[in-house]
């Protein structure tokens, strides 16, 4: 990729405008105030939701989630036992469940959905937004990484995986007793942190912050 110019807001009068990404209606950003979210007049899409301390919380939650992800992949996840036999599975085992022939690509996709993409997304977020915490100008490539993070959002499925785990547990209840490992709890907390992070993150506000300095 060619070197990307640093993020800039449009010049002149255009800097004062924002187009609703859902319905294209133009709005004035001059009156977007601190701690008040603004919505599109026509379709109600949230345009800006700036909150004081949002960047601090965003980075804190992302870092926390990243640490939990390390725990989640390095400790045992679940174990089951029945009739004197027992078996254990880590998150990695879950991924490699689809091995052999046709199922290999599914293994890769599962790995991507529950570990690789979420980790990549968290790292990209921290890299792009972290320096803002210390009043530094955005690092080179900040725009690229924040853009990457926003594109990855629908494809990081840690929370969906946890619901899948819950369903799987119900299916197994009849045939075996189940033990929960450290990784299980770590993954559960990770889902909570990521959900909280997504709920408070306003992409468009962050874009403006990335360009301001």
């Amino acid at each position: 990729m060619i070197q990307e110019p640093p993020p800039t807001v449009p010049t002149g009068d255009l800097a004062e405008l924002v187009a609703c990404p859902q319905c294209d209606l133009l709005h004035h950003v001059g009156n977007v105030s601190e701690d008040a979210s603004s919505r599109c007049k026509r379709c109600g899409t949230v345009l800006f939701a700036p909150r004081t301390g949002a960047i601090e919380r965003l980075v804190a939650l992302a870092l926390g989630a990243l640490v939990l992800m390390v725990v989640a992949v390095s400790f045992p996840f679940l174990q089951m036992s029945a009739s004197g036999f027992s078996s254990k599975a880590s998150v990695f085992d879950t991924i490699s469940a689809f091995t052999g022939g046709l199922m290999a690509p599914l293994s890769l996709a599962t790995a991507a959905f529950i570990i690789l993409l979420p980790v990549l997304r968290l790292c990209a977020l921290i890299y792009a937004v972290g320096p803002l915490l210390f009043g530094r100008p955005p690092v080179p490539g900040a725009a690229t990484s924040f853009r990457l993070a926003s594109r990855l959002k629908p494809w990081s499925m840690a929370e969906i995986f946890m619901i899948g785990v819950a369903v799987a547990l119900v299916k197994m209840m009849g045939m075996a007793s189940i033990g929960f490992g450290t990784a299980f709890w770590a993954f559960g907390f990770l889902v909570i942190l990521v959900t909280a992070m997504d709920a408070m993150m306003c992409e468009r506000t962050i874009w403006r912050l990335l360009a301001k300095r």
């Binding site: 990307e4 993020p7 800039t8 807001v9 449009p10 255009l14 004062e16 405008l17 924002v18 187009a19 609703c20 990404p21 859902q22 319905c23 294209d24 209606l25 133009l26 709005h27 004035h28 001059g30 026509r42 379709c43 089951m80 029945a82 036999f85 027992s86 078996s87 254990k88 599975a89 085992d93 879950t94 469940a97 689809f98 046709l102 199922m103 599914l106 996709a109 599962t110 725009a143 690229t144 924040f146 853009r147 926003s150 629908p154 499925m157 969906i160 619901i163 899948g164 785990v165 369903v167 799987a168 119900v170 299916k171 197994m172 009849g174 045939m175 075996a176 992409e203 468009r204 874009w207």
Partner: protein, 210 residues
């Protein structure tokens, strides 16, 4: 500034000879090809939007058929092999009295995908035909479809967890079936279908009418 404010009220970026960024919302002169703020490609409207929507829709629909016909899970209990499809898995849960979980799986694996096929086809057809539409409900429909689509992946993860964990010598073994991969592909394709839809065209149709 008050005058300028009045001027832009009720005006779309396209009508003003500008182009808005789908990601960061910043506004640029019409012929700008890349957003200076976030670096996304800029288009006033994604012209081929509906073609892309239909292409991914068909890909998703085609894979959804084998996903339902072939087994999702192959279970061997004391050497006795059995396999269950998506619907079979739901019925099994009902049989065990796990109504709530049966409902979750039924909702995620059958209601969401089927509802999504219908919703996207409806959106694309209504938009193409033009005429009287209720933009606000169509927009809401698209938002719901885009938000909920990824949750269909639940069943794929259920299969992954079961086949990773349930391997107890000769007692019980669970392995994934071919349907798992078909279903995962179907979900990914329908997600791409919903993502290729440009919501701005919903409001264009309404404007043309006015």
């Amino acid at each position: 500034m008050a005058v300028a404010r009045k001027e832009v009220t009720g005006l779309t970026a396209r009508a003003a000879g500008l182009v808005g960024c789908l990601h960061c919302g910043s506004v640029w002169p019409k012929d700008t090809s890349r957003c200076g703020l976030c670096g996304s490609a800029l288009t006033s409207r994604r012209n081929a939007s509906l073609q892309h929507v239909w292409a991914w829709w068909w890909a998703g629909a085609i894979f959804y058929i084998p996903a339902n016909l072939y087994p999702m899970l192959r279970t061997s209990l004391f050497g006795q092999e059995s396999s269950s499809t998506i619907l079979g898995g739901v019925l099994e849960l009902v049989k065990h009295g796990s109504w709530f979980v049966a409902f979750v799986v039924f909702f995620a694996s059958i209601m969401i995908p089927v509802g999504k096929f219908i919703a996207i086809a409806y959106l694309a057809t209504v938009i193409r035909r033009g005429g009287a539409i209720d933009s606000h409900s169509l927009h809401k429909l698209h938002e719901v479809v885009e938000f909920i689509g990824r949750w269909s992946m639940i069943d794929v993860f259920v299969v992954a967890v079961l086949s990773a964990l349930v391997h107890l010598a000769f007692v019980v073994n669970i392995d994934p079936g071919v349907a798992a991969i078909c279903f995962a592909l179907s979900v990914v394709f329908t997600m791409l279908s919903a993502l290729s839809f440009d919501p701005r065209i919903i409001y264009d149709v309404a404007e043309v009418r006015e």
